[in-house]
């Protein structure tokens, strides 16, 4: 990074924290601190929900995933808009009417204290793990790119988050998120523009699309049903809908956002805004990855995208032959791509041309794989994967001065946005569902305000410490979704029971959740079913168990 990049990066981070502090300066009551006094307009809530979801992992991992695997990941979001409509019609008015601080508070009103304790406990475990990972993922990648240690990056991000979240509460977080989303949109547009602009003059935008399509990178919809295929239209629509229902309907980090709305209508509009904008935004991010893939057909990328590992591998005696094979494979692929485009311009592409093009890609991949093996050999590891470094390699090596700083700042602030929302919700559940419910029921408002601040700081420090131990996860975004899917099915099931099964009682709900979680862990351990289906399985088991137990209890009476 050049001096201007550092200025842009630190300038943005300073502005963001100051702005958050300024907007949250009047949070003098628990209601202000945890729910922004229920005064938020729909666009602020909508952008904040989007910002919390669009963590740094979205930029780092999603673009890399598209580069390697194409755009099929977009299907993961197909069920989200349907979930948003269902929640707008059901959960939003129910939670607003109940005037609760947390979704789990409602469960005690509907069932009993043990069900509330169980579900809030599940939330604390699940979200606690995710908070650490949301900080760990970008910290590790950014530390490599910036040449800092993991600890420096983690502590910098964690400290900034703790400062504005502890001081200003959810108002600071929400308004900071609005600014972040604005800059995120600008950064994304700049990244796509540059990926296309940097291609050789003879390669037009349509040519780039043709090449990306020839390699299957633009296959956004797969209609073939397969239980074990992670991303197809069916897993996206059904599994994705259940995941979104659970995430937006039962996860306090999201529920708390729309509880800040000044009316039911404003909260509904914030969810519907996400329903409309989420798929196009993910498509756009994935498309950037596909365009970077095409750019790297003409502009030679490093053998290994991880800069430190690349440097280490380059010192090995075995690296030279690998690099020679890689260079030759790159040139062969480049020429094949050019020939394919020439044939396309004449309208005479044939299956044979396509096979030649794809065979050069296989040779190129094999050469890159040889480079990865060198890294594995040096590290004593197995299956080295540099997917998460592809986008940042593109940013740092090919984007102009200033833009690099902006995009790195965006990734920093996206991580901070996700983490701030998570530690705020963790603190809310800790204070409202645990401390106030079980330890001190009749404190003053000021007492709970300070308890909320202390809990926020605690979870911030916890996230930093956990981030230091976050290694061992695979593709980062999948790890986050995977953790969610292990717990969300049970949580969703109990809320569906609460909303739609008036005859189901407390014991049915409590044991239903336990049975649902057992089913999910069994599916995870004993089958190869894609994790997107865990929410469906868990939810259905909770419903079935809850209904059967309640019927049995009624008969016994």
């Amino acid at each position: 990074m050049k001096p201007l990049d550092w200025v842009v990066m630190f300038g943005w981070l300073t502005f963001l924290v100051s702005y958050g502090l300024w907007r949250g300066r009047k949070s003098g009551t628990v209601n202000d601190y945890l729910l922004a006094g229920r005064t938020m307009p729909w666009y602020a809530m909508g952008l904040s929900i989007m910002a919390t979801q669009a963590s740094a992992i979205t930029f780092i991992s999603t673009t890399g995933q598209s580069y390697v695997d194409g755009m099929r990941f977009v299907q993961f979001y197909f069920g989200l808009p349907v979930a948003m409509v269902i929640l707008s019609a059901t959960a939003v008015p129910i939670f607003h009417r109940a005037k609760v601080y947390t979704a789990y508070e409602y469960l005690e009103n509907r069932f009993d204290a043990k069900t509330r304790a169980l579900v809030s406990g599940i939330f604390l475990i699940q979200r606690g793990l995710a908070a650490g990972l949301a900080l760990y993922a970008p910290a590790v990648v950014l530390s490599v790119i910036l040449g800092w240690s993991d600890q420096t990056t983690t502590i910098l991000m964690g400290s900034l988050v703790v400062i504005y979240t502890t001081t200003g509460g959810i108002k600071a977080i929400t308004w900071a998120d609005v600014q972040q989303m604005a800059v995120i949109f600008v950064a994304l547009i700049l990244a796509l523009f540059m990926a296309i602009h940097l291609m050789p003059r003879e390669v037009s935008f349509l040519d780039a699309v043709t090449l990306a399509g020839a390699f299957g990178k633009l296959k956004a919809v797969d209609t073939h049903f397969d239980w074990n295929n992670r991303y197809n239209i069916w897993s996206g629509l059904i599994g994705g809908m259940f995941l979104a229902l659970a995430y937006f309907g039962c996860d306090q980090s999201q529920v708390q956002r729309y509880l800040t709305g000044k009316s039911v209508a404003q909260s509904r509009l914030s969810l519907l805004f996400n329903a409309v904008a989420k798929i196009p935004m993910q498509f756009f991010i994935l498309f950037i990855g596909a365009m970077v893939f095409v750019l790297f057909m003409f502009v030679k990328p490093p053998v290994i995208f991880h800069p430190v590992e690349m440097e280490r591998a380059a010192q090995s005696a075995e690296f030279k032959p690998v690099e020679d094979r890689y260079n030759a494979a790159f040139e062969a692929r480049k020429q094949a791509a050019q020939r394919y485009l020439d044939a396309d311009h004449r309208g005479k592409t044939s299956p044979a041309d396509l096979e030649v093009l794809r065979s050069t890609q296989r040779a190129f991949d094999a050469a890159r794989q040889d480079g990865a093996k060198l890294v594995d050999k040096a590290r004593g590891s197995n299956g080295f994967n540099d997917t998460n470094y592809i986008f940042l390699s593109f940013v740092t090596n090919y984007l102009p001065v200033g833009v690099v700083g902006l995009i790195i700042a965006v990734i920093f602030s996206a991580a901070m946005s996700a983490v701030s929302g998570e530690i705020n919700s963790l603190a809310t559940v800790t204070v409202i569902d645990v401390y106030k419910r079980h330890f001190r029921k009749s404190g003053t408002d000021r007492h709970y305000l300070w308890a909320s601040r202390i809990a926020t700081a605690f979870w911030g420090v916890y996230a930093v410490i956990f981030a230091g131990r976050g290694g061992g996860f695979g593709a980062l975004i999948e790890a986050v979704n995977m953790i969610g899917s292990l717990f969300y099915g049970g949580m969703l099931g109990v809320f569906v029971l609460a909303f739609f099964f008036p005859k189901v009682g407390a014991n049915g709900a409590f044991f239903g959740v336990i049975a649902g979680e057992a089913a999910i862990f069994a599916a995870n351990h004993y089958t190869s079913i894609s994790f997107l289906w865990y929410n469906v399985i868990g939810c259905l088991v909770v419903l079935a168990t809850g209904v059967v137990i309640s019927k049995f209890a009624v008969s016994a009476k």
């Binding site: 977009v74 349907v82 948003m84 019609a89 059901t90 633009l218 296959k219 509904r268």
Partner: protein, 41 residues
């Protein structure tokens, strides 16, 4: 489903808003399917 007291700022009722959103999503997914087919070699 209870109709809330506050109507949406457009289209009159929430039911109409939800219908429009769902139609939009169906069209969006269809467009992505067409995009996948058209860009495939």
């Amino acid at each position: 489903m209870n109709e809330p007291s506050e109507p949406p700022p457009f289209l009159g009722t929430w039911k109409r808003v939800y219908t429009v959103v769902l139609i939009y999503v169906a069209l969006l997914i269809s467009a992505l399917y067409v995009f996948s087919v058209v860009t495939a070699p």
